[in-house]
């Protein structure tokens, strides 16, 4: 038995050594990208359809879609003097009509951030799991890749990933508008209702 385990683990580590760049270091056990968020992206995200700027523009002309910008900003933690809040270091311009949910694309979310994402998606979709949701940030950014998979695990079924984000939207000369992140509220409203991801 011990021999079998040793053999299996040697095999596994051999396989991993053969492919040094990937899973181990960059992705966590849940499959989310957990570091080096700015790097070239794969062609697709599991559970979502990939859109180019032109694809998205065409779809928006046909149907109602919720645009979700997940571009990260610095978060100010709650202290005795100040509530939790966003500290954007510069102005952010995103697609008109978007809802900006910073930081929900990190590899690991704490209870506050899981609650924030859950609540904001409920509000944005009106509780309809078949509402079309489009996730994006900027080009070569893995945060939208993470976030769209989180939405899939929360039960949403009409998911789109726009990997080019505001950069490729701007490159098509399409309009961007000054954005405000949706405010954070301290603590989960109801921990039990929120799925652990």
């Amino acid at each position: 038995m011990i021999h079998a385990i040793a053999k299996a683990s040697a095999l596994a580590s051999g396989l991993l050594l053969g492919h040094p760049v990937l899973a181990d270091s960059l992705f966590n056990s849940e499959g989310y990208r957990a570091e080096r968020y700015r790097a070239p992206l794969p062609a697709s995200a599991p559970g979502a359809k990939t859109l180019s700027a032109q694809d998205l523009q065409a779809l928006l002309a046909q149907q109602s879609m919720v645009l979700l910008d997940v571009q990260a900003v610095v978060v100010r933690p709650e202290t005795a003097d100040f509530g939790i809040g966003w500290l954007p270091s510069r102005e952010r311009f995103n697609l008109p009509g978007s809802i900006w949910l910073p930081n929900v694309g990190y590899g690991q979310l704490n209870a506050t951030m899981r609650s924030y994402l859950h609540r904001e998606l409920l509000l944005a979709s009106g509780g309809d799991v078949d509402k079309a949701l489009v996730f994006y940030c900027v080009a070569d950014c893995w945060m939208s890749w993470n976030a769209v998979q989180r939405a899939a695990r929360l039960g949403y079924r009409q998911l789109y990933w726009f990997p080019g984000g505001t950069d490729s939207w701007a490159a098509q000369q399409l309009p961007l508008v000054l954005a405000q992140p949706r405010p954070l509220q301290p603590g989960p409203l109801d921990n039990k209702a929120i799925p652990q991801d």
Binding site: A23, E35, Y37, P42, S44, D140, G164, D167, A171
Partner: protein, 315 residues
């Protein structure tokens, strides 16, 4: 999971389309000696406008291949540099050298993935440790020109000594100062000396990893080294030792100015807003580079003033 991700990765690289950035490298190219080329960057800090092209790269052409010296700040720079070399010569690129571990000098390596890429052991170690953070920072500072950049680390360890490039002899030295390990590359026939970021010409030196005492030693040695043309990492090619003296003078001033400020009890914030005196105020990227140097150097100088090592204390 990892197997799935690997398949995904290999299957889909480069899927995102964003507008290409044109570095216009042909307009920046000069042949400083027969077969020895320099591609000049802007005298600026990283920005979306310059695509991170703030450095000089180079290449040396022989009858048996091309040696590339640094690869620029992004995959797109590397690709455009390689295409430009292809317009100059039909010779294959046989080797790439990275002069030190700062990202503007090796983030174009990706375009030379089929060629041996060499750096010193110390540079390779620093790159292995820091590239992920550099990538995040470069995307943040430079934006769209970075698209498609997945840094590629050197594949070979470079030793000091002579390397041959067809009929040419290239002399390689390793010295410390600007970082722990910098290459000095001399094409012995033409006498052209590539000194990487040991010398900044008409531009304030960068100091995030600097050891100023060792840097000044290296510059004294460089001033004794014969050359026909000196190619600094940043700024115009120099046919005299003026840029060496200028870099040394600036570093000496920087060290004594900040040491004196620390000694009289100034805070880093006060030091930050001191005006930079002539002639240093006329250098490119001033006062921003001075202010960055305050961040880099002041804490250690403060430490030295208030808590000198036992050997320096007068009891």
């Amino acid at each position: 999971m990892w197997r799935y991700l690997l398949a995904l990765w290999l299957g889909g690289m480069g899927a995102v389309t964003a507008a290409a950035f044109d570095y216009a490298l042909a307009d920046r190219l000069s042949e400083v000696a027969p077969g020895v080329f320099v591609i000049r960057g802007d005298q600026a800090h990283f920005s979306a406008g310059n695509g991170g092209n703030i450095l000089n790269t180079g290449f040396i052409v022989s009858s048996k291949g091309v040696l590339v010296i640094d690869t620029g700040p992004s995959a797109q720079y590397g690709e455009q540099m390689r295409a430009l070399i292809g317009e100059i010569t039909a010779q294959p690129i046989t080797r790439v050298l990275n002069t030190h571990h700062h990202p503007d000098h090796y983030f174009g390596n990706q375009a030379f993935a089929d060629v041996p890429i060499a750096a010193t052991a110390a540079s390779r170690a620093a790159m292995a440790q820091l590239s992920g953070d550099y990538a995040d920072a470069m995307y943040r500072l430079v934006g769209p020109a970075m698209f498609g950049t997945e840094y590629l680390l050197p594949t070979e360890t470079l030793q000091a000594g002579e390397i041959s490039l067809g009929e040419r002899r290239i002399d390689i030295k390793e010295r410390a100062g600007h970082t722990r390990s910098e290459l000095i590359i001399r094409d012995t026939d033409s006498g052209v000396l590539f000194v990487g970021d040991l010398v900044f010409n008409e531009r304030a030196a960068t100091t995030p990893d600097a050891d100023i005492a060792r840097w000044l030693q290296t510059l004294s040695e460089l001033a004794q080294t014969p050359f026909s043309q000196l190619v600094p990492g940043h700024g115009p090619v120099d046919d005299s030792s003026r840029s060496i003296q200028q870099t040394a003078a600036y570093l000496q001033w920087l060290r004594s100015f900040l040491s004196e400020a620390a000694a009289r009890g100034a805070t880093a914030a006060e030091a930050l807003y001191q005006p930079v005196p002539a002639p240093f105020d006329g250098m490119a990227v001033m006062p921003e580079e001075y202010q960055r140097s305050v961040h880099h150097l002041f804490p250690a100088l403060e430490q030295l003033t208030f808590y000198p090592p036992l050997s320096l204390r007068r009891n």
